[in-house]
């Protein structure tokens, strides 16, 4: 069966001087490595913090997407131009505006455009006036945060005729 060698065989030193020289090199290298590690860590950390500020919102925004979905569904079922619809619509807009300020963008989906897995996820196929592989219907909106796709738009694509 497969095995893993744990060995770190480094040639045995001969004289005291050799031993000390080897030890010194090992320590010096270790020290250099530690210093370099620290500097690299600091640089990475800076980048990480910048990313964190930009991306720190990702989790909460991601969890709010289903809430946005539900608003869409609610608005769709309400009587058009009723007072209730207007009210809900306004709250939805308020929430969308707020998230937009934080970098959340809707992924635009156009019926009749080709499917692009960079932005769309195909959830099924339907008959439509379009050719095969063309977006026929949007099922759920897609969102990106600061240019990165958080959730692709869920679409139905056109069946082969």
């Amino acid at each position: 069966m497969e095995d893993v060698k744990n060995d770190n065989s480094i040639s045995e030193p001969k004289t005291e001087l050799e031993k000390l020289t080897q030890e010194r090199d090992e320590y010096l290298n270790g020290w250099k490595r530690a210093k370099a590690d620290l500097m690299n860590f600091q640089r990475d950390e800076e980048k990480r913090i910048t990313d964190l500020i930009r991306w720190g919102l990702k989790d909460i925004v991601q969890e709010m997407i289903p809430v946005l979905d539900n608003f869409e569904l609610a608005v769709a079922t309400l009587e058009k131009d009723g007072a209730l619809e207007k009210g809900i619509q306004m709250i939805k807009l308020q929430l969308e505006d707020l998230l937009k300020k934080k970098g959340l963008e809707k992924i635009s989906v156009e019926k009749g455009k080709p499917f692009d897995p960079n932005f769309h996820e195909a959830v099924g196929e339907i008959d439509s006036e379009f050719e095969e592989g063309i977006i026929a219907k949007e099922i759920e909106k897609g969102y990106s945060l600061n240019g990165k796709v958080l959730r692709p738009a869920r679409v139905m694509i056109s069946k082969a005729k």
Binding site: E2, D37, N70, L73, F115, P117, G133, I139, K148
Partner: protein, 631 residues
């Protein structure tokens, strides 16, 4: 020479890791995600897609989307396992001229290793982009039960992708490496790997310089996905009973339920109850319908009991086959995201009567272990010790307890917090507590209690010769330095006169482990009480300071302070002074607040008076102290 990366080439997901600064870490892919779906496709527009992009179009392009190819790699077409998988895999397969399997994607047939190579190619390219350097060598993991032909095919996949495969490493061995178990000579380890689609059990034995796989078992069609399915079925059934609507026919509702089921499963690993809340799930003649069902952890455990029991049966079977007694298993390692489910971890624990290892992210542990093997290999290439082991040569200690000094009111002020890696040095500036105080006493202590008296005294010294100044003005910098031998140097410097005093303490590290433990436990035990004591000390300090400040303000204001304001403030000062040294802390606090409110009137009144004259007058603002005051 480029770096060697560690790759967990999984059935459903793959991950890449490297060792950096002595510890392994996962490299995110170009989409910013830590795992990449092991899926390849030729899209309808003829483009080759790998990873999440291939997955996104899988539903509508099942014939040309290849997943789970790991189930086929290195197998013969007439292998009964291939026969079984062929029944449910949606893409076309045929027997090659050599008797192995080939899968069809687009209008071409590919060997499974070519498909795996496409996944590996993406992993390689993404790793290069992350690291900013070329990667041309890798350690790739495979299930322990893979035979020579499957290992060879996996190795070929690596070579096709342009990677020199330095080692094919069994997945359980990688997991053991990630926990550092390779150093535990002669130990016997069981790895319980409950992944998304497969369940594997392995029994390992650590030899002098090897980790040997003694037995393997499991079920290649048992995984977390089965648990998701059970939850979806349950939810559909519940909804039907509750609202009389069958959601299993509604593909959009099912899609939403699927995501909700996964979310619920994750939630129930952390909490005892979760709510599946899907408004507008569907509609009927009466209008929109909503979905709201609560599911408890107990319910989930009841639903999945059969699956978990089955995994334990397989575990037991594999251990029996290994010829190693259950009781002589030293370590148990949990791998795979599904082992986050408390019922699974508990079942394994109950079976062995021993706590399994689960500190490392179970989705990533195999890739992390592969990267440790990669580091061992590159260290050998370069004639150095592996990075993780460099630390063994250069042992860095931590201070087991906090170090600090006593400040006003008998409070212990920490300067070096516990668990700080040494050598280190920290300093903090303090001031005097009284006007014209000629010197400060630096009382050095060690411990976790809030009050100085409860901690262990390490030494004390005086810093004299501070030039006369009002309280709070002198700045005394206290520095604590611990060298690599644990010797503590404490110095205090008056910033105005430059006078310095210092002391060297060697006792700080002489404490036995037991003593450190005792002190820590004591600190935890008295935490509440100590906090109260400290707060009380702070109330007294604040009262004291405010009396002083109020008197200063009255003095500085002189005639400008209206007599009624002055009388009111004086009254409050008297009130506070009479009780501030007592023990009725609530009253002291109230009296302090009252004085503070009253005092503000001095300033207000003065500004009002000055307005018409618009004469400039500097308000003597109460001096804030830079840090705590010293006794």
């Amino acid at each position: 020479m480029g770096r060697i990366i560690g790759i967990d080439l999984g059935t459903t997901y793959s991950a890449v890791a490297i060792v950096e600064a002595g510890s392994p870490k996962i490299l995110e892919n170009s989409e910013g995600i830590r795992t990449t779906p092991s899926v390849v496709a030729i899209s309808k527009s003829g483009e080759r897609l790998v990873g999440v992009l291939a997955k996104r179009q899988a539903v509508t392009n099942p014939k040309n989307t290849i997943f789970s190819v790991k189930r086929l790699i290195g197998r013969k077409y007439n292998d009964p396992i291939v026969g079984k998988d062929k029944a449910w895999l949606p893409y076309e397969m045929k027997e090659s001229s050599t008797g192995s399997v080939e899968v069809k994607m687009g209008d071409k047939f590919y060997k499974p290793e070519e498909i795996s190579a496409m996944v590996l190619q993406k992993l390689k390219a993404d790793a290069e982009a992350r690291l900013g350097e070329k990667v041309d060598e890798a350690v790739i993991t495979v299930p322990a039960y893979f035979d020579d032909s499957q290992r060879q095919a996996t190795k070929n996949a690596g070579e096709i992708a342009g990677l020199k495969v330095r080692r094919i490493l069994p997945e359980p061995t990688a997991a053991a490496l990630a926990y550092g178990l390779n150093k535990k000579k002669n130990e016997k380890i069981v790895v319980y790997d409950f992944g998304g689609g497969t369940f594997d059990v392995s029994v390992l034995e650590v030899g002098d310089d090897t980790i040997e796989v003694r037995a393997t078992g499991g079920d290649t069609h048992l995984g977390g996905d089965d648990i998701d399915k059970i939850i979806i079925e349950y939810l559909v059934k519940q909804y039907k009973a509750q609202d009389g609507i069958d959601l299993s026919k509604d593909s959009l509702a099912l899609q939403r339920l699927k995501e909700a089921a996964e979310r619920t499963k994750h939630e129930l690993s952390a909490s005892f109850e979760a709510e599946v809340n899907l408004p507008y799930i569907t509609s009927d003649a009466s209008g929109p319908k909503h979905f709201l069902i609560k599911i408890t952890r107990a319910k989930l455990e009841e639903l999945t009991k059969n699956l978990i029991d089955r995994s334990i049966e397989l575990l037991d079977k594999t251990i029996n086959e290994s010829g190693i007694a259950k009781g002589s298993i030293d370590e148990i390692v949990l791998v795979g995201g599904q082992t986050r489910m408390p019922a699974i971890a508990d079942a394994v624990k109950k079976y062995f009567g021993k706590e399994p290892h689960k500190g490392v992210n179970p989705d990533e542990v195999v890739a992390l272990g592969a990267s440790i093997q990669a580091e061992i290999l590159s260290a050998k290439d370069e004639g150095r010790r592996p990075e993780g082991e460099v630390k063994d040569v250069l042992l860095l200690d931590v201070t087991p307890l906090s170090l600090g000094i006593e400040t006003l009111g008998g409070v212990f002020t920490r300067i070096i917090e516990k668990n700080t890696t040494i050598p280190t040095s920290k300093s903090q500036t303090f001031s005097t507590a009284a006007d014209n105080q000629p010197g400060v006493e630096i009382h050095i202590l060690q411990g976790e209690r809030e009050m100085a008296a409860d901690n262990k005294a390490l030494g004390k010294f005086m810093l004299d010769g501070i030039p006369p100044a009002p309280r709070g003005i002198p700045q005394v910098e206290v520095s604590l330095d611990i060298d690599s031998n644990g010797i503590l140097n404490v110095s205090a410097k008056d910033k105005a006169s430059g006078k310095t005093q210092s002391v060297k303490i060697t006792a700080s590290t002489n404490m036995s482990k037991e003593e450190v433990e005792r002190l820590k436990n004591e600190a935890a035990k008295f935490a509440e009480e100590d906090k109260k004591k400290r707060e009380n000390a702070e109330i007294k300090i604040k009262a004291d300071q405010l009396v002083f400040q109020a008197e200063q303000a009255l003095k500085n204001g002189g005639d400008k302070v209206a007599s009624d304001v002055k009388d009111a403030v004086l009254k409050k000062i008297e009130n506070l002074r009479s009780i501030k040294d007592g023990i009725e802390f609530e009253k002291i606090k109230i009296a302090t607040d009252e004085l503070f409110t009253e005092m503000q009137k001095i300033g207000e009144a003065m500004y009002k008076k000055e307005e018409p004259k618009s004469e400039e007058k500097k308000e003597e603002a109460p001096e804030g102290n830079p840090a705590g005051e010293n006794k």
